[in-house]
Symmetry: D2
Subunit: 263 residues, 4 copies
């Protein structure tokens, strides 16, 4: 008979409760914020309190991008055919793929490559970035995280994230590696390809030592929230089988307003 | 030509940025915690600060239940066939269905029915619960959220959540409605069917006026986090096409440990 | 220890080969047509040879409806985000839901109800249809399979299917029950609601005693074929992340042509 | 305004009916068998009648492999959590991935490479196979379609398919290329790695000029049939939330029986 026993390092349910990476789930509830427990599950350890806020910020930055995102359109289309909440959200999740939301992992790889080639020495970053850019271009590989697709102006989320990174006192070397990559891309291609939101997210995830194989997972958890909200609106407010125009849409929610002061 | 223009009340992307229910996403990043932005997207308004912590707690309580949950088994099986992260997680999400994680919405309906029948008056809750139980049993409908399936002892998460609810100063009337339902079930069936984690979650979501059609969505966002962690472990640590035994498994992560003191 | 052994009546793999409902798969290959093996798997017995052709015809009739079907739009949108073949097809499959392709099962139930109420006697069908229509309308239930949504003229597929049914020498009583339902709907609503393709499919599946719980499955197998063809075109011929207009599209394949004569 | 018009070469719905690659769907119904219409959709042309039977045979050969296939286990697990037919089948479809059912496309590539390197000349096939094997092994790439995983004896489906290929009068050069690959693998690795069912399917799809990007699609259409049958059994015959043992199962359907004589 085959021994089919297998083990996990993540979590376990016993008669006494649920263990998450060695912590009793009960002790986490109401004490450790959700994004930090996500980090614990993905990484194996709780984040430093300074870092916790940065993880939360990265999740908020990705929570929703409006009704025109392909993942939202696919999910709303499924809902319009009659799919219930979870099935329609799954259609959206499947759309978060190579060209839509999956750039962060690739971008982390590029930035980590520059970091490694530089031996972690700031004055070698430019040379290392040149080497990485040359190698990836030779291999016909797109260097994700640089160059703006949608925002003509600088994406204001970036500046916000960089401020938070400073407040979190991250070492900053991976951010420098990303900036060195911008310069290397300029030298190599002649084009201005600034860090975009994927590249900024990638650099910050490198800074906090987030596992790159789960960087897309962080994005998926954040974005499925928006997808679910859109599916719920589609199911409850829209006629079934409607033609969902991907461009010709608008917003009739509350107009721009300030944050409440009692946060 | 058909006018295909449509609108959403949720969110919008413009040249100037991303609007979430009227708030500029930039202003939310690093200021409003992720679970509160989820509440904003789902409900339309930011939660009261007292309530924010309770939402976070409910998400942490659902984040992962160990490797034996059907959603995890389905997701790991898909990953074992070669499905990448998102596709395998989608298989898990599809498994979070009628019998697995979807009890909260039904339970909210039962509790809200008791509340409505009582006209919000505490002394009428028992009578209202008797009426609801009689009606639902007549219709052959299961009253979700009561009676323990897995935990023989009282689920310690409940006590924790009730303490947090008290700290959040929720009105408490829906919790009372849930307790009246336990008494009504005892009178009607002769059986002890205590509030379980689904019922407690339902009562608390009623307390904070969470939209019931999105109660399962809250659970999905939380639980897909655990599913993604399990899929990542399967992809990176396990041989492909292995037989995934649903019972014969164990835990070899860190042993039970105390929370760090610097949280 | 729990005995977890379970059994299936469908199929099994042994050292000697694969058993499908008692038949050796080897003996089926190249002898029994695919739609008949589908029937065998779903129903438990091989179809009568007269019936086999009708099942094939029902599958061909559903294989593809062009690029504007919501299932195709959702699948193409997922592919446009970078989802590979199977994941994008899954998004399409999830869209085949309550309002899109799932009418056949409901329609079978209506027709079977008329048949049952008539005790299988042709002269009682009108009375039985009146009773069914009255009961379903009282319950606020839509009677699926009647009334045209898309085709203003009579859908020519119907006539073709009815001819094939005649050639297959089906008893015809369920087709009569469907026609009686049209008359009952006219009496009850005053409106002309002719049998549509879902209703015709339903009536024919009743005629060949196809399990109603798998009528949508027959449709799914057929339609996923078209979905996969569209996904493949999207992946290989279209730019990623394009806006997929649900209405403003056309056809540039071969113009209308006659069937080859050597079939 | 952006011109969002797009076109497809596959199919179109007009007021007059549905066009499939230039043929009127009505004319196909009941005349052209379902697997041939699948070929038409995927390939652009109807198959030669000799070839049609071979396509059907390849689909029957893949329709179901019993309850232990990971795709069936994932789909049954989703159904056990309460997922309806289509959602559970989608979980199964997502499991048909890199390690489970996706070998045919890779195997076609290997065989086509040998064919191309040989300039289509039979006496150069061995040399060409040596070159392909050397190149792929150097690149660390698995040569799919050779070597048996599950069947210790020769898979009897192969012999059946080869006989049908002969009856269909296929040129046979790709089958020879596959056999040359077996010899080259023996020379290169010292191991006996016979053509398996994936390799045989690949060779035959090469023979009939089936588009390799859709070879997995052919398999998906066939296998989702079995998945749907298993999901239906799970939903209707099994208790919810059961532990689905991947090994400890059996068959209680009809015992081995002969094909009826009136086919």
């Amino acid at each position: 008979m085959v021994d089919s026993h297998w083990t996990t390092k993540l979590s376990y349910t016993t008669e006494d409760g649920i263990l998450i990476r060695g912590y009793d789930l009960i002790q986490l509830i109401g004490v450790v914020p959700f994004p930090s427990v996500l980090y614990l599950l993905f990484k194996g350890e709780l984040p430093d309190p300074k870092i916790a806020k940065l993880i939360d910020a990265l999740m908020v930055a990705s929570i929703d991008h409006g009704p025109g995102a392909p993942s939202v359109l696919a999910a709303r289309t499924a809902a319009s055919g009659g799919a219930p909440l979870g099935a329609a959200a799954a259609a959206g999740l499947l759309t978060l793929n190579k060209f839509h939301g999956a750039a962060v992992e690739d971008s982390m790889e590029a930035i980590q490559k520059v970091y490694t080639l530089s031996d972690g020495q700031p004055d070698k970053l430019d040379q290392a970035a040149d080497a990485m850019v040359a190698e990836w271009r030779r291999a016909g590989r797109r260097i994700a995280g640089f160059g703006h697709r949608q925002h003509k102006k600088i994406d204001p989320r970036l500046e916000r994230l960089f401020i938070l990174a400073k407040e979190a006192e991250v070492p900053g070397i991976h951010l420098e590696a990303a900036r060195a990559t911008v310069r290397a891309l300029k030298r190599s291609t002649g084009r201005d390809l600034p860090i975009n939101i994927d590249g900024a997210t990638a650099a910050l995830l490198c800074e906090i030592d987030f596992p790159s194989s789960l960087s897309n997972a962080l994005f998926m958890v954040a974005r499925i929230t928006g997808i679910l909200a859109h599916v719920n609106e589609e199911i409850n407010q829209m006629p079934p089988m409607r033609r969902i125009d991907p461009v010709n849409h608008g917003y009739d929610g509350p107009p721009l307003r300030d944050l409440p002061t009692n946060l």
